[in-house]
């Protein structure tokens, strides 16, 4: 397939795990680990899907998502949000910010894979 994923996450071990799972499934995985310039990186690299963590240094995932949705041509970009805070209000905030899907940590590898495939291929 060769579709590209951009993973925005600051916890090194989780980056390693998700990269491993997706690469083995044939995705080309790029990673980025802070919130400050995340929007710029997305705009520049134009991935097929973004996996976005909520708690990031510099800027929260919600803020990044909101900016992405406002950017030109990114309104329909599939974004999978990950959060380690499992409360209802976190899910609501993600939806309001425009997340394509929302997933609570810890997740099973199969779930992530399935969600990514769903979002990109439909």
């Amino acid at each position: 397939m060769g579709k590209s994923v951009l993973l925005i996450e600051d916890e090194p071990n989780i980056i390693e795990a998700i990269s491993f799972i997706l690469s083995r499934d044939g995705w080309s995985v790029a990673t980025h680990s802070n919130g400050h310039d995340a929007v710029g990186v997305v705009v520049e690299s134009r991935p097929d899907i973004v996996i976005l963590d909520v708690m990031l240094p510099g800027k929260t995932g919600y803020e990044i998502l909101r900016e992405l949705r406002e950017a030109e041509g990114l309104a329909d970009l599939p974004v999978l949000m990950l959060t380690a805070k499992g409360q209802v209000k976190d899910r609501e905030m993600a939806e309001r910010a425009g997340a394509s899907r929302f997933m609570t940590k810890p997740f099973s590898n199969a779930e992530v894979l399935e969600a990514v495939r769903d979002l990109v291929i439909g």
């Binding site: 998700i18 799972i21 380690a84 810890p106 997740f107 590898n109």
Partner: protein, 896 residues
């Protein structure tokens, strides 16, 4: 020449002895052993700087010329002392409650803290005192010359002048060393006071010795001397009523108003009780001083050739009878009288010049505001030192320019008359609440102009500054303005005339202008505080501090009082207000205390201006209103009570609002706590789950990959354990069920260990640590592991959060009263005010989450320190982030 050399030698030994006395007294006071320094006897003896060389030598001359009139200059001060209950007690109480540093400070403080008034008083005091200092220098050099003449008539005049210069330089040096050792908030100088007390004993002893010698050595005992007095013209002198009354009034006024007398009477006073002793002891001292004056005068007139200067009989009578030892003692007595006067006068004047002229100018020209950081104590000290030098130099120049002639001899009373002009303003200020600043200006101006015109200028001799014509016909021929015959009233003694008119018109101007104007609010308040000092001790003025930034005040206070003292003061006040931490609420009470502390260093007016700059304006506090209301009866009382209620209500409302804010904050933190626990647990669990699934589901993993992934699982499991440990630790600490493992150890070892642990695994360059090992040699008795846990946490925080380019952490240790303080100060941008309030709460992390901590570290630290009987708090105003750990019940230095 041999005896002359001997004299120089004795003089030097005596001076060295005085330095030693002053030094020992300072040391004793510093070590807290100086209880005897504050005895009423030392206080009484220090008052004897009233007896300068002018009285030591001059009293005999005075008696030889004018009979018993010399007694008037002793009677005036004696009356003041005997009546201490009415005036002195009040002055001393005011001086203490208002932290007054000089007479200029007192007057400016009373009249609305006006610095302009302080400047005026200072300038007038300098004008009035400079000739007097010159007189002392002259007496030392002339008495030296008297000795020289007796042995070698060829001592050139130039040598006299260089002697005067040497004496002046020595005195300035002494005053600088012991008068400006430190900025004592109380402005007490134990070394100086002790030295002048010793000098007081020396001059009394010397005069008594000469007296005894004259009566029993030369004369044939008491009966013989009484006969001689009867036979001489001294016995027949008439008492002139008006001159006597004027001189008694004058010396009493000068006793209260002379800057040097104010210094020893009020500023150096340690306890009001001392006045009780001094009230009889000082008149007794004066009586003994005057006991032998007439006998010495009579015998001198008999013994010495006609035309000898009676001013130096005390010296020439022993010399003429070949009694060199006694003459030398007498010389030392005169020397003591002169030097003690110059030292205290220079000290008092320099405080005034520095506080009211130099410092305000310097503060204004160097800083836009009072909050710029940096220590100004050295500037205050330097300006005092320069002022001392300037005052003594001025005295020396005056001596040189006046040629040391006989004109100086009459300057004593003229000087007295000059400073006596402060009297109406001073007495009016402490007894009459209607007195105003404008009135004070008017009175002082009128008094001094008349004094200068009628007394000072003519004293330089007719035809020098005041022409013959002016004296005879008045300016421009206006007869009633003749300098020595105002309103055409002739025939008065010029001195009596000048004192009568200057004081009368001064008081009149002061009174009328005060009546005509209306005092400003600050003047009214200060007036109430001064006049009713015994009813309202200790509440000088009101500040409304709602809008004040305590931190700004802290920065300013550190600059003037020094960091330690300022922090100590703030912490004490915060504790008194029942608040934790180092920053007290800027309540009116606190601001008053702060202003008083500052005024000890820079004077009332300047301190007031500095606080005002930060606070933004004075307002009337309830207590102040109550003080004023005493006078204006019920209606004011009622309204001020209403105001009290409304102020109290608004204060309660503010406190409620604060409590509510805090509760809201805590409840938000509870939510955040759950959310945080969830986050902190889920993150490692994500990695564990993901990698265990990978290990389970993936075929063909290489051995290296397998090891790597299981290691990650292992590490994350450890991280979970650590988090649970922290939570558990905190709950145990909070519930108070922790048992402490008390051990002894050295602080530097503990810090070594903590630094090593905190910085493991990060490059050692990531944080530079600066320590002063010298201060760390202290033995601790506490739970060392727990304390170490606190240190590790604070160092770790600095490493994680310090955002400076080259991060650096200073660790500063200090001890006092068994309390050990360890400060951790980094060079980052510090913690914002908003965050300072919450960093010790659980899961609170300053700013955006930048680092890996769970936010439990400081919460644990706080709990630990509470269990150890100490505190850990944020220390604001240090530049970077700063934490202070205080451990009580510690103390002694460990053996090296």
């Amino acid at each position: 020449m041999g005896t002359l050399n001997m004299l120089v030698f004795v003089c030097l030994v005596y001076v060295a002895f005085l330095f030693l006395v002053a030094f020992a007294a300072e040391r004793a006071a510093m070590q807290g052993k100086g209880g005897w320094l504050r005895s009423p006897i030392v206080y009484t003896l220090s008052l004897s700087i009233y007896c300068t060389a002018w009285t030591f030598y001059g009293a005999v001359g005075y008696a030889a010329r004018s009979g018993l009139e010399y007694l008037t200059i002793y009677i005036g001060p004696s009356l003041v002392m005997v009546g201490w209950w009415w005036v002195l007690r009040k002055l001393v109480r005011i001086g203490r409650t208002q932290r007054v540093t000089s007479i200029a400070d007192l007057i400016s403080s009373r009249y609305g803290k006006s610095n302009l008034l302080a400047v005026g008083v200072t300038v007038l005091a300098v004008i009035g005192t400079t000739p007097y200092i010159a007189l002392q220098l002259q007496s030392v050099t002339v008495s030296f010359a008297v000795f020289s003449d007796a042995y070698d008539a060829s001592v050139p005049l130039g040598e006299q002048e260089s002697n005067a210069l040497l004496v002046a330089a020595g005195l300035a040096l002494f005053t600088i060393i012991f008068g400006t050792r430190n900025l004592d908030v109380n402005e007490r100088h134990h070394g100086v006071v002790m030295a002048i007390a010793v000098e007081a004993v020396v001059k009394l002893f010397a005069l008594l010795a000469v007296g005894v010698f004259v009566v029993w050595g030369i004369g044939g005992g008491v009966g013989d001397i009484l006969q001689r007095i009867d036979a001489s013209k001294i016995g027949t002198w008439q008492i002139e009523g008006d001159r006597w009354a004027t001189l008694i009034f004058l010396s009493a006024a000068a006793f209260l108003c002379l800057p040097r007398m104010f210094q020893v009477l009020v500023v150096e006073n340690d306890s009001e009780d001392h006045l009780r002793t001094a009230s009889w002891a000082f008149p007794a001292y004066l009586m003994v001083m005057s006991l032998f004056v007439v006998p010495i005068a009579v015998v001198g007139l008999d013994l010495l050739p006609a035309g000898s200067n009676p001013d130096f009989f005390v010296l020439t009578v022993p010399l003429a009878t070949g009694n060199n030892g006694l003459a030398m003692l007498s010389f030392l007595g005169g020397f003591s009288s002169a030097t003690s006067m110059v030292i205290v006068a220079a000290l008092a004047l320099s405080t005034m010049v520095s506080n009211h002229i130099v410092m305000p100018i310097w503060l204004n020209s160097n800083f836009g505001g009072a909050t710029v950081s940096g220590d100004v104590r050295h500037v205050v000290l330097l300006s005092r030192r320069i002022s001392i030098g300037a005052v003594v130099t001025l005295g020396y120049l005056y001596y040189r320019m006046s040629g040391g002639g006989t004109a100086l001899a009459s300057i004593g009373l003229i000087s007295f008359a000059g400073v006596a002009q402060f009297l109406p303003v001073l007495i009016g200020g402490i007894f009459w609440r209607g007195a105003t600043r404008l009135g004070a200006f008017a009175g002082l101006t009128v008094g001094f102009l008349i004094w200068a015109y009628a007394l000072l200028l003519p004293s330089f001799g007719t035809g020098t500054l005041v022409s013959e014509a002016l004296l005879a016909q008045g300016p421009l021929g206006i007869g009633w303005l003749r300098p020595q015959a105002f309103f055409g009233i002739t025939g008065m003694d010029p001195l009596v005339h000048a004192i009568f008119w200057s004081t009368l018109l001064n008081a009149l101007a002061f009174f009328l202008v005060s009546l005509g104007g209306f005092p400003s609010p600050v003047e009214r308040l200060q007036g109430a505080q001064f006049v009713n000092v015994f009813e309202h001790s200790g509440t000088p003025q009101g500040w409304s501090g709602d809008l004040v930034q305590s931190e700004d005040l802290m920065i300013m206070a550190q600059r003037i009082l020094g960091a330690r003292e300022a922090q100590g003061l703030f912490e004490r006040e915060a504790k008194r207000q029942g608040m934790g931490g180092v920053l007290p609420e800027p309540s009116p009470d606190f601001l008053q205390v702060l202003e008083r502390e500052l005024s000890g260093s820079v004077g009332v007016a300047t301190a007031h201006a500095m606080v005002e700059q930060i606070v933004g304006g004075a307002s009337v506090s309830v207590e102040d209103l109550m003080a004023v209301a005493d006078e204006t009866a019920q209606i004011m009382e009622h309204s001020s009570q209403l105001q009290a209620k409304s102020t109290e209500l608004s204060r309660t409302a503010r406190q409620l609002r604060q409590a509510n804010d805090k509760l809201t904050q805590i409840s938000a933190q509870k939510d955040a706590f759950l959310s945080q626990v969830s986050h902190e647990l889920r993150t490692p669990m994500t990695s564990i789950r993901a990698f265990s699934e990978i290990l389970r589901d993936t075929d063909r993993l290489s051995a290296a990959e397998q090891t790597k992934y299981s290691t990650i699982i292992h590490d994350e499991a450890l991280r979970l354990t650590r988090l649970l440990d922290d939570l558990l630790d905190l709950s145990v600490l909070e519930s108070g069920q922790v048992s402490l493992n008390m051990q002894s150890g050295k602080l530097d070892d503990l810090l070594d260990h903590a630094i090593a642990t905190a910085l493991t695994g990060s490059g050692q360059d990531s944080l530079r640590i600066r320590r002063t090992r010298g201060q760390e040699q202290a033995l601790l008795r506490t739970d060392l592991d727990r304390l170490s846990q606190v240190f590790i946490n604070l160092i770790g925080n600095a490493q994680k959060y310090c955002d400076a380019e080259t991060p650096e952490l200073r660790i500063e240790v200090s001890q006092s009263n068994g309390q050990m303080t360890v400060d951790f100060i980094d060079n980052g941008q510090g913690i914002s005010k908003k965050d300072q309030a919450v960093i010790f709460e659980k899961f609170a992390r300053a700013g955006v989450q930048r680092a890996s901590g769970a936010g439990l570290g400081l919460a644990i630290c706080r709990e630990i320190m509470t269990r150890l009987g100490g505190t850990v708090s944020y220390l604001p105003g240090q530049g970077g982030a700063a934490f202070r750990v205080v451990l009580a019940g510690q103390g002694q230095l460990a053996a090296q």
